[in-house]
């Protein structure tokens, strides 16, 4: 076990007292220049892995949270977070897996217009933010997820999105046009090879 140094103790205290997840820089500013924050974070992450509280990284920010296997103890008498509508859930998934993505692109995937409230709900929750404009005619706003989204859903980064790699590999995150083109190329390849076989 790592020895408990004052460096570790001060990073521990800072993260414990913080009201929101902290970046490494935030922590450095709190504890002072001389502290090796990264090693302290690593030591703390190790130490707490076995305990009822964990130190976790979410979108390059760190915070303490209770261990997931303690949910049954803590869930009692607590209100569940409001359940998200299907429209909002799908919209959130589309933004998270495709980001940054415009409203028109979201609508193309869902095959239906997004009602105004849907994006509002996601932005109000702090999970989605406008992320500039796409430089195409009309300069549509594009949306992306936030660090709050990552921390709320326990994702260290977007790469942790469930099934992201599989979806990518299957081309399911590509637009239909791109997918069709790719398929045609494959088909013509096959045809060619078939012809060559003749």
């Amino acid at each position: 076990m790592t020895e408990i140094t004052d460096d570790i103790r001060s990073v521990e205290a800072t993260l414990f007292a913080a009201e929101e997840p902290l970046t490494q820089n935030d922590i450095q500013q709190a504890v002072g220049e001389d502290v090796d924050v990264k090693s302290a974070i690593d030591a703390l992450t190790d130490h707490y892995a076995a305990r009822g509280i964990h130190l976790v990284e979410r979108g390059r920010r760190w915070h303490f949270e209770t261990s997931p296997d303690m949910a049954h103890v803590l869930r009692r008498e607590r209100e569940e977070p409001r359940k998200l509508s299907r429209a909002a859930t799908e919209t959130l998934a589309i933004i998270a897996y495709h980001e940054p993505v415009s409203r028109a692109e979201i609508e193309a995937i869902r095959g239906v217009q997004i009602s105004k409230g849907t994006l509002d709900v996601l932005m109000e929750a702090g999970w989605v933010r406008p992320a500039g404009r796409r430089e195409v005619p009309g300069r549509p706003l594009i949306y992306a997820t936030t660090p709050v989204f990552l921390s709320h859903f326990g994702l260290e980064s977007r790469r942790d999105l469930p099934g992201l790699d599989d979806l990518k590999a299957a081309g399911l995150l590509d637009p239909v046009d791109a997918a069709l083109e790719a398929m045609e190329m494959d088909t013509s390849d096959e045809l060619e090879s078939a012809e060559q076989d003749d």
Partner: protein, 256 residues
Amino acid sequence: MDAVTGEMFEDAPEVAESERLTLDLDGWEGPLDLLLSLARTQKVDLREISILELVEQYLAFITDAKALKLEIAADYLVMAAWLAYLKSCLLLPKEEQEDPSPEELALRLQLRLQRLNAMREAGARVMARNRIGRDVFLRGAPEGIRVVRKSLWQAELYDIISAYGQIRARTEPAVHVVALRPVMTLEAALERLERMLGHSVEWAALQSFLPESDDRGYRKSALASSFVAALELARQGKAQLKQADHFADLMVRKPE
């Protein structure tokens, strides 16, 4: 709204055909959503889905809904019309097909269904993660890290000095210094007129007593002062005045 109807469907995906017809069409989020729901009832991988069969199901569904006099949103009908067209194309002999081919249109529809389905499942998986406030919890009463912002006030000496200058300039009673103009004072006119009258007992126009000057202003001033001086001298009995007519020359002489 969406949540309730959406859950209704997801909780009971295996409802019998007749029952499902009683569901409000609002339960689906658009025609693509309805198509995906129908596709799932084929219980095959979406990549293997029979688009022709799906089209049949959709058209039957819409026909039944019409028969039940349900309100059907326009986009469902547009999709129905398009699917009817697609179906007829798919049934035509290959040679008579135009571009894009019905196969491509069907493939596009299939790809869209796959994508929507992928996002629906991804959404469900995201929602099922250990969520803060449901599965994991943050510290209930964090002390908080307070950043005490201390202002480092900045000002230059010049700011202070020029500010003071402006205050003084702004608040001092404004002193109007009227620039000195070339004028002949009444005293000067009196002295001059009296002195000049001493040499002449002839009537002479007042203007002739005025000093030569190129300055219009000075000449006017001299005229006005000399006029008043002439009146004063007449009052004192040191001059006589006469004027032949209105605006005629004012004549002055020393009393006899």
